[in-house]
Amino acid sequence: MAPVLRSRIDPADEVFTANRDLMLAALAEIDELTARVVGGGGSNDPAKNARSVARHRGRGKMLPRERINGLLDVGSPFLELSPLAGWGTDDPLGAGVVSGIGRVHGRDVMVVANDPTVKGGAQGPSAVAKGLRAMDIARENRLPLVNLTESGGADLPKQAEIFVPGGASFRNLTQLSAAGIPTVTLVFGSSTAGGAYVPGMSDYVVLVKDAARVYLGGPPLVKMAIDEDADEESLGGAAMHARTSGLADYLANDEADALRIGRDIVAHLHFSHPNQNRPLASSAPIYPIEELLGIASADVRHPFEAREVLARILDGSEFEQFKPLYGSTLVTGWGQVGGYPIGVLANNGILFSEESHKGAQFIQLCNRMNVPILFAQNITGFMVGTQYEQGGIIKDGAKLINAVSNSTVAHLTLMMGASYGAGNYGMSGRAYDPRFVFTWPNHRIAVMGPKQLAGVLTIVARQKSEAAGVVFDEAAFAPLRDAFQAQVESQSTALYATGRLWDDGIIDPRDTRTALTMALSAVHNTPVQGTDSFGVFRM
């Protein structure tokens, strides 16, 4: 049994309570946004949203999350991914599609459900990105994919943005199938034009009687193209596809029946968990998880102790520290989450050469042991300055990035604070393909801090004018500098990041342990297999 971390938090402390209040305020804003997404409709007009939901229900149809409830096991958890995708873009909030991981007959499955109350389920760029991300997760973790389809196809005004990248959806479906990962599509309504290839490319297709419509061209298009008068049912009705075209493998009486059939299909797949690294017995952390709200700094410029976070995430708050006395701003060691053993790299400050060495060594050890790695990011970057450049910080940072890039055990990344500069890379940022990235609301992400970035810009401008022999007008430059700083600030928030799918969703810090457990459960659907093959470590 590993040593139990000792917490030194004082929940009555001013900094703690201020952090908690700000975190709760940020969560309230996120809850409000999430409630809008769950409510359906997708527009900013509540009355209009209510009308489209009522119209949908009036047809006896379920909302996407109701369909998901009906598909999943009773009591199954559901880890919804990127619920606020599209934030800050002109796509609807949530992108009109719900994706996530839940359990069907005890198996982890990836579910992707269109929200037909949002633009009729039409797909914009965010929806395409969210769908592709879901398929990536299904492929990397070998999760059966269940599509709950009802979509008007492409969001036509945005066709230019989606036509080309969107094509990958269909390619991915058949590649999942080729990789032996089952794909199941239940069609509840329209799935037309390009959308017809969603059932078309799936292993199993269930169509709901009198509701599913699957065709390449609808009656108007058929009229235009070949001057044929065709009705919807003969072009793409569920009964036609079940009896005549053979596109449907199962004909469902109604939505609930389709969900029942979908469950039966998953049951018969015998798609087994590889059964290695089944979770061990686990116990909750000994410290209250709620205290995470006050531990993480609301302002990422204020450092906080990473071990206080780990003490509230790891099973039994137990953590075996590796090299605690060396490279102390990077905390490394072993623990468990939800009974799954993991290696942890957590930032406790700037990365120096020692930290880079330590991190690279630790990642290699995790690869030898076939243990997944949690990267807990709160990083402002690698150290700069003459002393450090001369000390080889580039070479050392490269070692860490080399290790991260070539590591083959699953990586999970938790954005618990700052993520600036190459620190993002060294700590397995989005571009380094961690299996999952989860974000706390206080998270900030950019090439560097907004203030520093604005300062750098000022210095560069000053040097430029001085080089030109012009006196630098500080006062005139100030508004420009402030505007730039504000822009960087607005583009480095958690919401901005999640809106662009730089992560897999903002989570409430109190849900961290559960989200990580769900992620680790998903990860273990494929063997955790490390490597001894890395790039050349520059010595």
Binding site: V38, V74, P77, S282
Partner: protein, 667 residues
């Protein structure tokens, strides 16, 4: 005379009851059983069992030759008849004796003298015991003669089978217009149950009480009584609540009744256990009692007397059969405190006591009280026999405590799988008139509200929420966890009679669950699981906190049923499937259909008949009760789908009806 091995010519709880004493006395046991009873607990508990081919009572438990043969083959040396079936059949007693077995019951002549009620009344009259006013009814009487005789007796009156018992072949008649049908129905039932259609009439004494005296005689001429039992609370003329001492009986009335009972018993040279039944009336002038009948067997309700006196009546029967003298003299027989017994039935009081058959998934009666039962969890309740599940008996220092303890025990018992009269029994035991001892034989007619469940809305909600939670497995992450607040998870439950359906929506959150029942207000609950995982153990304990108040619930989850007991209420729920099963079923049945499984005894229509709404189409017998299938609307019979003697399942369509063609007969 030694008895080494007793065969009990009966089934269910009374067989187990006799076995219990036999074992205590070092006597081996033999069960006989029908095919459907092969797995029953009384068969498994026997040392030796013999199957009687078939299932109907006539084929099995009423089959004298086969039972005697079974006794011979199993090496039994004595036969105990239990109650019901052949227990009061003098021919059986004679056959047992003739075959050389010891008969644990009264001499055949004594049985015969009391077997026909018409004759028993004559004997009682000779013993100068007052009789309930009434009249005999010749089998040849015409309709108008029947009506005239009834008019003489006066209304309301009861039509009773002379050979009857247990309420079978009995009909109550309020006015002349009902007479003819009641008499013919009683005759049919009597013929079917006892092989004798003779019925007689008895004035219905309103407000009277049913009080009976337990007597014993031995072969040495000793006769004692073991005090009285009051069994006034009846449904369909069958006792469901029995107690002793009788709450409102005057001492002098009681003494007079003991004396009447023992002198009647002595007058017929009675040996063994018997019961003399009386009706007791009370007016300003005082109490009067009238002889009803004498039962020459051990009564169903004998545990009341056992608890009250601390004696084992089955042991007394066995000792007397061995030729011993009565174990105690009258002066040495005492009673202590107060005893109440209730009969728990698989039936629906709110729907005319409709019997319920199927699997009793969960059956655990609170061990704080005595339970005499023939069933256990997993038992099949068939349509062939009486649907009594158990007798539950409380014995306390006083009546009020006994009633409270018994009601509490019923509330703490886990039952699921079949509709029972449990809630109704609890309502009876806790209602003010019962507590006051105001219990005439028409008690349930006066209190129709006691037939339905008295569960309050808060308990209903709590139990439904607990049922839904208990259906939710526990996994590696918090149950039902969502990072995005989701719409509720739906659980649907039905009452055992399927008449009411409830939808429970559970929304899980970090620190509990918000639950909504139907369109009610959502309430937040926190949940603590006390024992093994709900998902892996059929029995579990759950603590459910709502608004700061925690209830501790015991839950069974078996075979698609949930039983919930929390000390304040007990409920059972049928778990409705998550998805509609489109494989069809009862819902597809259209047309008049059988309410219960049973045997068709009469087909009253033929193809082409015009029937009017309410007209009887088919009569079936189930559990010795007649059930009529009637036309819902005016119609024409297109086809009759069943025949007399056919065994049918519940919900079988019996007749195909079509709409009448208008004006066919218009001229």
């Amino acid at each position: 005379m030694m008895i080494n091995r007793i065969l009990v010519a009966n089934r269910g709880e009374i067989t187990r009851r006799v076995f219990r004493t036999a074992r205590r006395l070092g006597i081996q046991t033999v069960a006989v059983h029908s095919e459907v009873d092969a797995q029953a607990s009384f068969v498994r508990e026997a040392d030796i069992s013999v199957e009687l081919p078939g299932n109907t009572s006539a084929q099995t438990y009423l089959n004298v030759d086969l039972i005697i043969d079974a006794a011979r083959r199993s090496g039994a040396d004595a036969i105990h008849p239990g109650y019901g079936f052949l227990s009061e059949n003098p021919a059986f007693a004679e056959a047992v004796v003739a075959a050389g077995f010891t008969w644990i019951g009264p001499p055949p002549a004594a049985i015969r003298s009391m077997a026909l009620k018409v004759q028993a009344k004559k004997l009682a009259a000779q013993a100068r015991i007052p009789l309930v006013p009434g009249a005999e009814l010749a089998i040849s009487a015409t309709d108008s003669e029947i009506i005239a005789t009834c008019d003489q007796v006066g209304y309301p009156l009861l039509v009773k089978a002379s050979a009857g018992g247990g309420g079978k072949g009995m009909r109550s008649v309020k006015s002349a217009s009902e007479v003819v049908e009641a008499v013919s129905a009683a005759r049919r039932e009597a013929q079917s149950a006892f092989g004798d259609p003779t019925v007689f009439l008895e004035r219905y004494l309103s407000g009277s009480r049913h009080i009976e005296v337990q007597v014993f005689g031995d072969a040495h001429g000793n006769i004692v009584h073991l005090f009285e039992r009051e069994c006034s609370i009846q449904r369909r003329h069958q006792k469901i609540v029995e107690e002793a001492p009788a709450p409102a009986l005057h001492t002098e009335t009681a003494e007079a009744m003991y004396s009447a009972a023992t002198s009647l018993t002595r007058s017929i040279d009675y040996v063994g256990a018997g019961t003399v039944e009386f009706l007791v009336t009370e007016d300003a002038a005082g109490q009067e009692f009238y002889f009803l009948e004498m039962n020459t067997r051990l009564q169903v309700e004998h545990p009341v007397t056992e608890a009250l006196t601390g004696l084992d009546l089955v042991e007394w029967q066995i000792r007397i059969a061995r030729g011993e003298e009565l174990p105690l003299h009258q002066n040495d027989i005492h009673r202590y405190g107060h005893t109440i017994e209730v009969r728990l039935y698989a039936e629906d009081p709110a729907r005319g006591y409709l019997p319920n058959t199927g699997t009793l998934e969960v059956f655990r009666i609170d061990p704080a009280v005595r339970t005499d039962s023939g069933v256990e969890s997993g038992s099949e309740i068939s349509a062939y026999y009486d649907p009594m599940l158990a007798k539950v008996i409380a014995h306390e220092s006083d009546r009020v405590t006994a009633a409270a303890v018994l009601a509490d025990a019923l509330r703490r018992s886990s039952i699921a799988g079949l509709t029972t009269n449990r809630e109704s029994l609890i309502s009876i035991l806790t209602c003010a008139d019962f507590i006051a001892g105001d219990t005439p034989t028409n008690f349930l007619d006066l209190h129709p509200e006691l037939l339905t469940s008295g569960l309050d809305a808060t308990s209903l909600d709590r139990h439904l929420v607990a049922a839904a939670i208990s259906r939710t497995p526990v996994g590696d992450v918090p149950t039902g966890w969502r990072n995005v607040p989701a719409l509720g998870e739906i659980h649907t439950f039905a009452t055992p009679d399927r008449q009411a359906k409830y939808i429970v929506s559970l929304t899980w959150c970090r620190d509990g669950v918000t639950a909504k029942v139907d369109d009610g207000d959502p309430h937040k609950y926190s949940v603590i699981e006390l024992d093994a995982s709900l998902s892996t153990s059929p029995t579990s304990s759950l603590s459910l906190t709502c608004k700061g108040v925690t209830h501790h619930l015991h839950i069974d989850n078996v075979g698609g049923w949930v039983s919930i007991v929390d000390g304040t209420a007990a409920t059972q729920w049928w778990v409705m499937p998550r998805y509609n099963d489109d494989s069809g079923g009862d819902a597809s049945a259209t047309g008049p259909s059988t309410p219960v499984p049973g045997t068709i005894t009469m087909v009253e229509v033929a193809p082409g008949d015009h029937v009017v709404a309410g007209q009887c189409l088919v009569v079936l017998e189930a559990m010795k009760m007649e059930h009529r299938v009637v036309a819902e609307t005016d119609a024409v019979v297109a086809d009759v789908l069943v025949t007399v003697g056919e065994a049918v399942d519940a919900h079988t369509v019996v007749v195909h009806l079509v709409e009448p063609i208008g004006n066919e007969s218009a001229e």
